[in-house]
């Protein structure tokens, strides 16, 4: 029962916070942090004890008795939500302060709480109707958070795109839950593996939750929304909100039977999302858009784990399924942590320089060392490099896949491309983040605004530090977090109750620890040596060129040029340039832009077709009465025809 009280405390904290959002932001923050802490404790309690908190009330809401339920899987996501909600709130106090945003800051606080509350409810509701309510409210509050700067046109456009896409997803879920209710006779849901007639519903769930999760062809809303939202909002959207889609998929693939093809489809979608997501990211020059595309990539990695786990369970619970699933699940946490860290870092950069355009930044390390350091930490983590958390989860997925191949099971053939492409994804991500760190923080400032950059205050750095520590913790001592993962995956597949940590997990942790310490030591040692030998400062070697300018540094576009060239078939980068001409060329220009291919090549044409139809139809309303009466008669005739046909039948 204790988790229930904790959750109650959390809810009251968040709700009370709403009321003080306008008058007393300080109390808002306090209440929020208290609530987040309580929620986190509750989640840890559930994860630690593996028990299930189940609470029914006779009080009907919308005609259905309230039924809340928190099991390990829900708690797993709840923990992430609580952490990011708390740190995001702290960050917002400085980043979106009332001085710079007098009108939108209080609303931002209110919607922030609403978002957290509703996401938590999504995790708690065990009734389809209430799930839908929480789901849509969460989407709505997300919309209002994204469009806090509603006076800017691109923000409005991005917000609308997000809202439209999420509503489309919600309608898929309408259909999903409605047919679930129609076939089971009740809105309640729970483990229903023994109803084979529910299998086809999986496709509806995939569409609905996939739109939220932003897996590849359905990701169209994601980049612009995450780019235009305030950074703490981007952080929670990318860290938790899109994970709600993953939660839905894991929840219902675990509870409902799925068609045989499901696992394969999910796995393929995962691979595609991973590779293309990072490929698109490489083409971006906008820092936050780039990070947004990496969300697509990481969702892909998670789905690879989930997909192969599903394949395995479809073919008799191969043991390796658990590793793949655990890897995917742990990656949910990891991606949440380091992506939030990166977005907060990007926000700090935006706050300091006023631009997200990477080719206008550079050399920020000197001005804002803490931000730069923490951002780089996050970059190493997201590139899946040891000794940080990103590697651990990807490593688990790899192990699962390798075992699958060694087992020469049904999935073996599919594993080979999956492994190779996963590796390629990792290498691409590495390239991408070398580019980001190099272009944004290293080198010399490219513009005036970058020169005038300043370090953010501790209210912004503190949250980033917390997230960085969490990333390091999972990386250095993964075995501590294994029980949570194991319990959560046991919810998905009850056969995995006694899941001892794979022995090598300990060793990896030890290796990471050694690597980290030795690396630090080595760096210090070399630095001391350098000091002892004496340092002389000069300009970067410029090949004897007379007047080098910062503009001559390698730009983001040129850095990723080779790779974007390889992916030109889908990225379709658009280059506009005026080459040098004549003896005394006046000026030359070069600009590159990578469009959102799916949106601009697929969705927009389709939309324009619909609009054309609508315009054609609207012409019928031309204001001539005679014609209207004719319509009336036509309607009459049509009905008569219909009736007579029925009479004949």
């Amino acid at each position: 029962m204790i988790p229930g009280w904790l959750l109650l405390v959390a809810a009251t904290g968040v709700v009370v916070g709403m009321f003080s959002a306008f008058r007393a932001p300080r109390y808002w923050l306090g209440a929020l942090l208290g609530g987040a802490l309580a929620a986190l404790t509750a989640a840890i309690w559930i994860l630690g004890s593996g028990s299930i908190w189940d609470w029914r009330s006779s009080f009907p809401l919308g005609g259905e008795p309230i039924h809340l339920r928190l099991d390990a899987l829900g708690a797993f996501f709840l923990a992430l939500l609580a952490v990011l909600g708390g740190v995001g709130g702290v960050y917002a106090r400085e980043y979106w302060n009332d001085r710079q945003h007098p009108t939108s800051a209080p609303w931002g606080r209110i919607w922030w709480n609403a978002l957290l509350l509703n996401m938590a409810l999504v995790l708690l509701c065990a009734n389809g109707l209430h799930f839908l309510i929480a789901w849509e409210l969460f989407a709505v509050s997300g919309y209002f958070l994204i469009t806090l700067e509603r006076h800017r046109r691109e923000v409005r456009a991005a917000g609308w795109l997000y809202f439209a896409a999420s509503h489309a997803g919600t309608l898929c879920l309408f259909a999903f839950f409605a047919s679930l209710a129609a076939r089971t006779g009740s809105w309640e849901f729970g483990p229903l593996r023994e109803h084979p007639n529910l299998a086809p519903l999986f496709w509806l769930a995939l569409a609905g939750f996939g739109l939220k999760a932003g897996l590849f062809p359905l990701h169209i809303w994601l980049p612009s929304a995450h780019a235009s939202a305030p950074s703490h909002v981007s952080a929670i959207l990318s860290g938790v909100a899109i994970k709600m889609g993953i939660y839905g998929l894991m929840r219902f693939t675990g509870w409902l039977p799925v068609p045989d093809a499901a696992g394969w489809v999910v796995a393929v979608l995962g691979v595609v999302s991973a590779v293309l997501g990072v490929a698109f990211a490489l083409g971006q020059h906008d820092l936050k858009r780039l990070l947004a595309y990496h969300s697509v990539e990481n969702i892909g990695i998670i789905l690879i784990g989930l997909g192969f786990a599903m394949v395995a369970t479809a073919h008799g619970n191969a043991a390796w399924a658990q590793l793949a699933f655990a890897g995917g699940l742990l990656h949910v946490w990891n991606h949440g942590l380091f992506k939030a860290l990166l977005f907060l870092g990007a926000g700090s950069v935006l706050h300091a320089t006023g631009t997200r355009e990477m080719s206008r930044l550079g050399g920020l390390w000197h001005a804002m060392p803490w931000t730069a350091g923490l951002f780089t930490l996050g970059a190493v983590a997201i590139s899946g490099l040891p000794p940080l958390n990103g590697f651990v989860s990807e490593w688990l997925v790899y192990l699962g896949l390798f075992d699958a191949m060694a087992a020469r099971g049904a999935a073996a053939w599919a594993v080979i491309p999956a492994v190779v492409l996963l590796g390629v994804t990792g290498a691409l991500a590495l390239a991408c983040f070398v580019k980001v760190c190099g272009i944004v923080f290293l080198g010399t400032p490219r513009t005036e605004s970058a020169t005038r950059a300043h370090e953010s205050g501790w209210l912004m750095l503190g949250p980033m530090a917390v997230l960085g520590t969490a990333c390091a913790a999972i990386g250095l001592a993964p075995v501590l977090f294994w029980p949570a993962v194991a319990r959560a995956s046991a919810v998905w597949q009850p056969l995995w109750i006694d899941a001892a940590p794979p022995a090598s997990l300990v060793t990896v942790g030890a290796g990471h620890l050694a690597l980290a310490t030795l690396g630090a030591l080595a760096a210090v040692a070399v630095w001391h040596r350098v000091k002892r030998n004496g340092v002389s400062r000069t300009v970067t070697w410029d090949c004897g060129y007379a007047a080098p300018t910062p503009r001559m540094q390698y730009t983001a576009g040129s850095f990723s040029g080779i790779i974007t060239g390889w992916f030109g078939w889908i990225l379709r980068p658009q280059r506009h340039w005026r080459p040098l001409q004549g003896l005394f060329p006046r000026r030359a220009s070069f600009s590159e832009h990578t469009p959102e291919t799916v949106l601009e090549q697929v969705v927009e044409p389709a939309g324009s077709v619909v609009l054309r139809i609508s315009t054609a139809v609207r012409r019928l309303q031309h204001g001539r009465l005679q014609a209207y009466i004719l319509y009336l008669l036509i309607g009459l005739a049509a009905l008569a025809l219909l009736t007579l046909l029925g009479g004949a039948r």
Binding site: P60, L132, R150, A168, T615, G635, G646
Partner: protein, 480 residues
Amino acid sequence: MKELALILIPLAASGAAFAWPSERTRPWLLPAVGAVHVVLALTLLVTPPPLVPGAWFGFDPLARATLPAVSLLFLVCAAYAVAYLKLRSERRNRVFVAALLAMLGLLSLAMQSQHLGLLWVAAEAATLTTVPLLHFNGTARAFEATWKYLLIGGTGIALSLLGSFCLGYASLHGGGAGDLTFAALAAQGAALTRPWLLAAWVLLLTGYGTKMGLAPMHTWKPDAYGEAPAIVGAVLAGGMTTMAFVAVLRVKQVLDAAGAGEMTSRTLLVLGLFSMIVAALFLLGTPDFKRMLAYSSVEHMGILAVGAALGGAGMAAALFHVWNNSLTKGALFLSAGNLRRAAGGRTVNEVAGMAWRAPMSSRILVVGLLAITACPPFGPFFSELRIVRTALETSHGTAAALFLGCLLLAFFGMTRLVFAIVDGRPRTATRATGDHLRETAGTIVPPLVFLGCSLWLGLATPSLLRETWNVAASLLAPAP
């Protein structure tokens, strides 16, 4: 005799209003009568009177399931009307008030009438009373709208008269004693002559469908709603259409009794889906936010038709949706009226940035928009979800898919338009708001009340109402 009072009090009050001397105090008649009406309706809802067999009108389950909604709608609109008429003091309100009250009385008569002819008479009379309401603004556009409303509506109503005659003749030819109460007709059942019956259904459906505003007979709607004052729009969209829907249901009941249920359901389903599709297509493109409301109303009439066609739980959901539609639409119309006055324009080209000019109304409009587009936790979400569920239970998969698709398109269209109007960059060209365009409690509270009702209907539907709908549904569409 409360049910009679429901009819007579408003009519008497309308007469009084006509004679009332003071322009300033006359509008107060509206909320007064509305309050009485609501009280009566609710008492009747709680303690339904026994039905007199063979009576020409009575508070039967169907009336019980729908009339209180209209009464509630009228009360809130009446409260708004007081503030509104104060703002529009430059125009005489004698006819306006009188006609509004008369319409209430005739609506309650039509929705209670158990007699084919009486139903028609009341419906036609109610139609006529709306004419002075429509051209209250007295602009040329208003007269044009009225003209179209009158001729199209008149033609429709004429067709329904022809239909009524056909039905009457069917019973006559089937050996009926010429008793045209629905009970008697239903009792006659299969004895009704088939060809006349079918003709009657087609004509009546077209006729009352025109009043409901089902496509393709909806053409009068955008003009009328676009030009009439907000209150009139609300009462038309929530009251008149509901009345027409009730009429269709009563006729359907007879047809079902005559064993033509399968046919009526199919026609209703097709007509409803067609209306939804047409409405969705119009919503995608229309630049005028008052006409948008009209098309949205067309869409919701389609939803009602689909629900009714599905029968059983679908019918109950449709009756539920009657309430949701009336009350939520009310909020939309009233807030849109405020914006219209504050902005001095109606199309997205003229109006933008209303969030700064009229913040409260803008917020209400946005929330109402979310409510009407089936965003939880407002009422429409629940009723529409139930309709979808019923469609899936009765294996109307395609219908459900079309239904959801239309909802999505409508959502796209409406959100685009409304967000552009509310959040868009304010035009400097638009006229500065005079102080008589300020947001006053009188113009803000009523729509808020509507939203409250919608929320309350959704989250905590009174079991009494639920049970009322189920009774009416089981009566209308006995489960096969």
